[in-house]
């Protein structure tokens, strides 16, 4: 997993709420046996029509909005547990998703892949959408070390929560599996009495 420390970037706004993982990556694109290439089909059915032409009114097809942060409506990532949703967002180039509320499994999957979910208050999310609408080139700053997200040019700033263990993993690029493999003796001991 790649490290995440601090990022300054423009953002892509997607105010739609309850975006489920079937929209992020439809089931018919889950047939790959590797983790790469899912970005091509990110938001496939919102991004392309039946003839594979880009839909001009979809935000990812609007050249005005670019950046490594996706700012999304509440309950982002609900539905299926497919980790492919986190892979697709990451493969497309996103490193952070900001929302006022994340579905549990998506949040875990994102954290396991170096994609930082930043949960902010509904009010702060609203302010972010307004700032981006006002100026598509406005820069968001995400500082994991200090757990702060800000829009310096607008004087907006908010703290965000992250589990200390997950924070350490993200800052250092550690995977859970490395830790678990280091305690297999403990696991074997547990099994004896289980």
């Amino acid at each position: 997993m790649e490290k995440f420390i601090k990022l300054d970037t423009t953002a892509v706004p997607m105010p739609m709420e309850n975006v489920d993982t079937d929209q992020i990556i439809p089931a018919r694109f889950l047939k790959a046996t590797t983790r790469e290439g899912f970005g091509d089909n990110l938001f496939r059915d919102w991004r392309f029509d039946n003839d594979d032409h880009p839909k001009p009114d979809f935000i990812l097809n609007n050249p005005t909005y670019q950046g490594k942060v996706l700012v999304a409506g509440k309950n982002f990532g609900c539905g299926s547990s497919r980790e492919h949703a986190a892979w697709a967002l990451y493969d497309y180039g996103f490193r952070v998703v900001v929302s006022s509320f994340f579905a549990d499994i998506f949040k875990g999957n994102a954290l396991n892949n170096g994609l930082l979910p930043v949960q902010v208050s509904p009010e702060f999310l609203h302010e972010l959408f307004e700032a981006i609408e006002e100026n598509a080139e406005v820069v968001l700053s995400i500082d994991l070390e200090n757990q702060k997200i800000s829009v310096p040019s607008k004087g907006l700033e908010s703290d965000f929560d992250i589990h200390p263990y997950k924070k350490t993993c993200m800052l250092n690029g550690y995977d859970d599996i490395d830790y678990l493999l280091s305690i297999t003796d403990k696991i074997k001991d547990f099994e004896k009495s289980h």
Binding site: D22, S80, E83, F101, D104, T168, L181, T184, I187
Partner: protein, 464 residues
């Protein structure tokens, strides 16, 4: 202070605590399938490590298998490759596989309980969000991502924050024609798709207790649709009776000893939940969904709510637009094109019996295309043994072969763009059953009645 059922099982599975108070949870059973496992196996290969406990890992092919001609090679190249990859991986890593053609093959959440692999008090995971189904046996069962599939393969453990506890009680007697699917669709419509996020749910109350194991599974199955990590029901005599005698369940004296232990699995009277909800069974009508998430459900006699009353009118309007429906509209009498009876929510033998009982001696409407997809080879065999296939055939339905099928349209079982499908599955997301498909979630009885009438009816007026 007493403990909840959830805490009793969770605490008994904590191996140790890692930095920051995160728990290392031991996993008793790990189910895998072709879609979310290949990258996990590849991870093990990269590290040159084996599956830690292959005998606690069970594989099946279900998500993208065809539901006709399963004896022939899979036509679609990518699906075939993925299923072959699963076979190859299981051979290489020594994991038992119930693949296509095996008498135990079927939807992962149907076969686990049916074979007695799922037992009270266990922790169970699978790379599939509907793993919550197994909670019906008094298990902590939940869906995980592929990185976690790899972790469980490598160590039989996961690093997890303990969720909060919620109890949802349903008491009273259900109206005739109202099934467990209606109970859970009703609960989700009340709590919303995010109402359970951060929680593990225990379902309780006299209505829940009165349900069969298969009906309980339908309820636990859809816990994820309100955002809950999982759902569970305390095991009781109904549970023990169901587990008894199944292939992989403890037998004889071992079973008796197990029942002794399982009987301790309940929430103590003074146990405290972080959140509680109470519902009355009498308030529940046969349910139908009208939007693009499972929380957008109404009683069949009710009208589609106004956008202004939703907490996100824009998303709500977009949803209705996709469905081709309007505020204030009733779905009663709505003409339907497709009927799908299947999925890990409603493809068990009881579901097929309910459908057969209703369609017996009737004929499917000509305008309806219908698919009945059993949850497993064992369900299929049982249905044939009971002659349900003949009843379906006479009524104009075909009993297909097991798989996830049109629940998520990974195989060729899809609903065309713009068509309405009344479906016994669990998700009505945009494009879930195929690009542009319009899904209406309902019970198997509502689906059967729709197939006969060609439109949505109130089954309560038919089954008295």
């Amino acid at each position: 202070m007493g403990k909840t059922l959830f805490d009793k099982i969770w605490d008994a599975h904590v191996v140790t605590q890692a930095e920051g108070g995160i728990d290392v949870l031991y996993i008793d059973r790990h189910f895998i399938h072709e879609v979310t496992s290949p990258q996990a196996f590849a991870g093990l290969e990269k590290r040159s490590i084996p599956v830690f406990r292959p005998q606690q890992t069970i594989a099946t092919a279900d998500h993208n298998v065809p539901t006709i001609n399963q004896h022939l090679p899979i036509q679609e190249k990518l699906s075939r490759f993925q299923v072959e990859k699963l076979t190859e991986n299981c051979e290489k890593f020594g994991v038992e596989l119930y693949g296509l053609g095996h008498p135990y093959q079927g939807i992962v959440h149907v076969i686990g309980p049916q074979l007695g692999i799922t037992q009270p008090g266990m922790t169970i995971v699978c790379g599939d969000s509907h793993t919550s189904t197994h909670g019906a046996f008094g298990c902590i069962a939940f869906g995980i991502g592929t990185s976690q599939v790899e972790q469980v393969m490598a160590t039989q453990c996961l690093l997890l924050n303990k969720p909060k506890r919620m109890r949802i009680s349903v008491d009273g007697e259900l109206q005739s024609g109202v099934l467990s699917k209606d109970i859970i669709l009703y609960i989700i419509s009340q709590l919303g798709t995010g109402g359970g996020t951060g929680y593990f749910v225990e379902y309780a109350g006299s209505t829940i207790r009165s349900l069969s194991m298969e009906a309980r599974m339908t309820i636990c199955n859809m816990s994820i649709e309100m955002g809950a990590r999982g759902g569970m029901i305390a095991p009781d005599a109904t549970t023990f009776e169901y587990v008894k005698g199944r292939q992989f369940a403890p037998q004889g004296a071992d079973f008796e000893a197990a029942v002794q232990q399982w009987s301790e699995l309940y929430s103590d009277e003074d146990a405290v939940f972080d959140k509680e909800y109470h519902f009355k069974a009498e308030d529940i009508m046969p349910m139908v969904t009208y939007g693009t998430n499972p929380g957008m459900g109404i009683g069949v006699k009710e009208q589609i709510p106004q956008a202004a009353d939703s907490d996100s009118p824009k998303s709500y309007q977009k949803s209705l637009e996709y469905m081709g429906l309007h505020e204030g509209e009733s779905l009663l009498g709505k003409a339907i094109d497709y009927v799908f009876i299947g999925s890990c929510t409603n493809s068990r033998i009881e579901d097929l019996r309910i459908v057969a009982d209703y369609v017996k001696g009737k004929k499917k409407a000509d305008s309806i295309k219908a698919m009945i997809v059993p949850g497993s080879k064992q369900v299929e065999a049982q249905a044939r043994e009971e002659g349900l296939d003949k009843i379906f055939e006479a009524a104009g339905f075909q009993l297909r072969q097991p798989g996830c099928s049109a629940c998520l349209g990974m195989n060729e079982d899809k609903v065309p763009k713009g068509k309405y499908c009344i479906s016994t599955s669990n998700r009505n997301f945009e494009g879930r059953q195929g690009p542009g498909a319009r899904t209406i979630l309902a019970s198997p009885l509502m689906a059967a009645a729709t197939a006969i009438h060609g439109k949505i009816v109130d089954v309560r007026e038919e089954v008295i």
